[in-house]
């Protein structure tokens, strides 16, 4: 059977090219891999190799011809046991036909419309936890969450800088080495890119790593592994690969540690499909969400806050206490304005709500808890009641969580808003060291009060 050789595309964008030179003539025997011609594109001249074996029966395009469209037959090869003459009249070869069956882009009537994103079912609300509560710090809550999950599942382990012998740079992992041993509580060298990637590989291999970053500022060294490897591989593998891993550590400003150690990465990670992003405020958030994060089969970014580590809250004593991922919590009910916050800003928002109450503004404070998935439903329900919204975050305003929240409210609650959404954020500067400047640059509860009053015209 004769074989047609087609004008090849030599780059992702090539549509036509010049047949610059033939390296074979009629009657020549051609072997796989042999260069048969040279083709000139707008970028380069490239050699074309034969894929099939046979005898050159006919050259269909003359040397020097310009503008030869991709997939035009350029040569006919006579197959084994076939004379060149037999192949003189080219019959459409199987491969050429097959290629025609593939619709070319210009033959497509129109670009196929993308199907709408599936609606995501709202997660179950937090159950009522029976029994007593225990007063504990956020630090203790995080530690208890890790210990509980490590007791329950032998494939969970903790790795990071100073997590074991030093007992944690911020003492979050204190005591874990003693209980679980060096196999499961592992001090790493100071190589975030390397150990984040190693953690991803361990997760691909069936383990459930908790990777602690001493702070998320250092995770910028590792962000390629977090996004390109951890977040995208499930999709790129058609669902074959999973990456059950938790990246956790303090995020945002601490106290007087200046620009390189004080950034909030909430919007960076929340931008990425394939990640879950959690930001606890209270000790109960910390414990319930971290347990959920470790059990979740996806990569989870768990953004803690150094200043909150020492703060104490009541936490349900129930040994099964865990929180749903994707559900915001109304920390304070109110009817006049909705204040949305996450992490340390929740405490500041609650302080602001107390101040606002003194002037007769009854604020509802929503603790987001989860930035991805984002609980739009709870916020919209609140805005339908209060008709006013203030968003709070420690990070920069531009392309921040508040920017996303504002856009979501335009899409889902525009008709219920009586005033534009107002954002309370960190100032658009690298965080300064000087005490007075640092205080000015970070959002305080007084800023939330001012914003709420402005939105309420009070």
């Amino acid at each position: 059977m004769s074989i047609q050789v087609l004008m090849p595309a030599l780059s992702p964008t090539m549509t036509e090219g010049k047949l610059a030179k033939w390296h074979v003539k009629v009657g020549d025997e051609v072997k796989s891999g042999q260069v048969i011609c040279e083709i000139e594109t707008d970028k380069a001249t490239m050699e074309v190799e034969a894929v099939d074996e046979g005898t050159v029966a006919k050259l269909l395009v003359d040397e020097g011809t310009e503008g030869v469209a991709v997939n035009t037959p350029i040569c006919v090869l006579a197959g084994e046991g076939e004379s060149a003459a037999d192949a003189e009249t080219p019959t459409p070869a199987a491969k050429a036909e097959a290629s025609k069956e593939t619709p070319k882009s210009e033959e497509k009537p129109k670009a196929e419309a993308a199907p709408a994103a599936p609606s995501v079912a709202a997660p179950a609300s937090e159950p009522e936890w029976k029994g007593g509560t225990q007063h504990m710090t956020v630090r203790e809550a995080l530690r208890e969450a890790m210990a509980a999950e490590m007791r329950a599942d032998g494939s969970v382990f903790l790795m990071g800088e100073e997590v074991a012998q030093y007992q944690g740079a911020y003492k979050v992992s204190q005591g874990l080495l003693d209980e679980f041993g060096a196999k499961r509580v592992i001090d790493t060298p100071i190589t975030e890119h390397g150990f984040a990637g190693l953690g991803v590989g361990a997760a691909f291999g069936g383990l459930k790593p908790i990777v602690e970053f001493m702070t998320f500022n250092f995770a910028m060294q590792a962000i390629d592994q977090i996004i390109n490897s951890a977040a995208k591989t499930h999709y790129m593998s058609g669902g074959q690969m999973t990456c059950p891993i938790v990246f956790r550590g303090p995020n945002g400003a601490a106290s007087r540690v200046a620009a390189q150690h004080s950034q909030c990465y909430a919007s960076w990670y929340a931008h990425v499909p394939g990640l879950r992003v959690l930001a606890p405020w209270s000790a109960a958030d910390a414990k319930g969400l971290l347990r959920a994060a470790i059990r979740d089969p996806n990569p989870v970014i768990f953004l803690e806050n150094e200043i909150l580590y020492g703060q104490s809250f009541d936490v349900p004593e129930d040994p099964d206490f865990v929180l749903p991922i994707g559900k915001a919590k109304i920390e304070r009910a109110g009817k006049d304005i909705t204040i949305v916050a996450f992490s340390i800003m929740v405490g500041k928002a609650l302080q602001a709500a107390e101040e606002l109450a003194k002037i007769g503004i009854d604020a509802e404070v929503i603790n987001l808890r989860s930035l991805r998935p984002f609980d739009t439903e709870t916020i919209v329900a609140s805005v339908k009641k209060t008709n006013r919204l203030v968003s709070c975050e420690e990070g920069w305003a531009f392309a921040g969580i508040g920017a996303e929240l504002s856009a979501l409210m335009m899409e889902h609650a525009f008709d219920w808003l009586d005033a534009p959404v107002k954002r309370v954020t960190g100032l658009d500067v690298p965080l300064p060291y000087a005490a007075n400047l640092e205080k000015m640059a970070l959002p305080q509860s007084s800023h939330i009060v001012e914003a709420a009053r402005a939105v309420c015209n009070r």
Binding site: K43, N71, N228, M236, G238
Partner: protein
Amino acid sequence: MAKPATKPKDDPSPAKAKSPPNLGDNSVSPDELKAHYRDMLLIRRFEERAGQLYGMGLIGGFCHLYIGQEAVVVGMQANVRDKDAVITSYRDHGHMLACGMDPKGVMAELTGRSGGYSKGKGGSMHMFSREKSFYGGHGIVGAQVPIGTGLAFAHKYNGDQNVSLTYFGDGSANQGQVYEAMNMAALWKLPVVYIIENNRYGMGTSVERASATTELYRHGEAFGIPGERVDGMDVLAVRAAGEKAIEHARSGQGPYILEMQTYRYRGHSMSDPAKYRTKEEVDKFRNERDPIEHIRKRLLDAKIIDEAGLKAIDTEIRKIVNDAAEFSQQSPEPDPSELWTDILVEA
């Protein structure tokens, strides 16, 4: 440690071959040698066909062919156990075939069809098979090295005696994360073999222009990792070196580096005209060092197979590749609903 592998330059005289044939210093049976020939030929023909389908516009984007480097992966894979992990870069088609993945599924992924290993959502550079312990297919230069080290970590953690074969190129060999991973692998004695496929060019930049020291097998010396330079055009040399390195890792002695000196005949990707090297250089490798031709000659010289036998292998391979090419064009494009699947695992 860190000595170049000593290997005989010349093949022993095949004329005196008795039964079993004298195949040199490697303990390889005639059937194994035939299998290596067949496996390398499958990769060669598959890649040639992939290049053709690319030329026909059926494969898009980036497509990096393995032609010329076949002996590396075939020689290494001759030593693996079932659950040993394999991971590599984006020049990955050969590795998948050598892991026993179905050529149809690989080719259909190249054409972006639903029958591909990633349902058409990954493409040439992003394919995986849990069943065959193939962990990708990674598009970011060097990223697979910490991940492969993590796979070794998981094997050690589980105490299952399996190892990780982590392949990367001479280009990756200068990435910072490679050294971070090597340090941890040596520190924790992880069962990983790093296979550097030195094909002399990281895209268009030669090793000499990119690496301050070009003895890549010595790049683990700072961490005490032994390394060897291996003739990556000789499947038996690769196999012998791999056997030793894998045994080292499996027995708990930690990582090992093999620098495979190899050569890619085609450009870096399909759109690379490869002007950074001479035609003479390419021809010299193709004509004098071709790994498949080398074994073909050995098989004939040792009278393990005759021309008819070779022809039978050739016919079998052509059928496999034709079937794969056919399947990759008949398999439908992914259903639009696939756009929204596999983003997250639903808990």
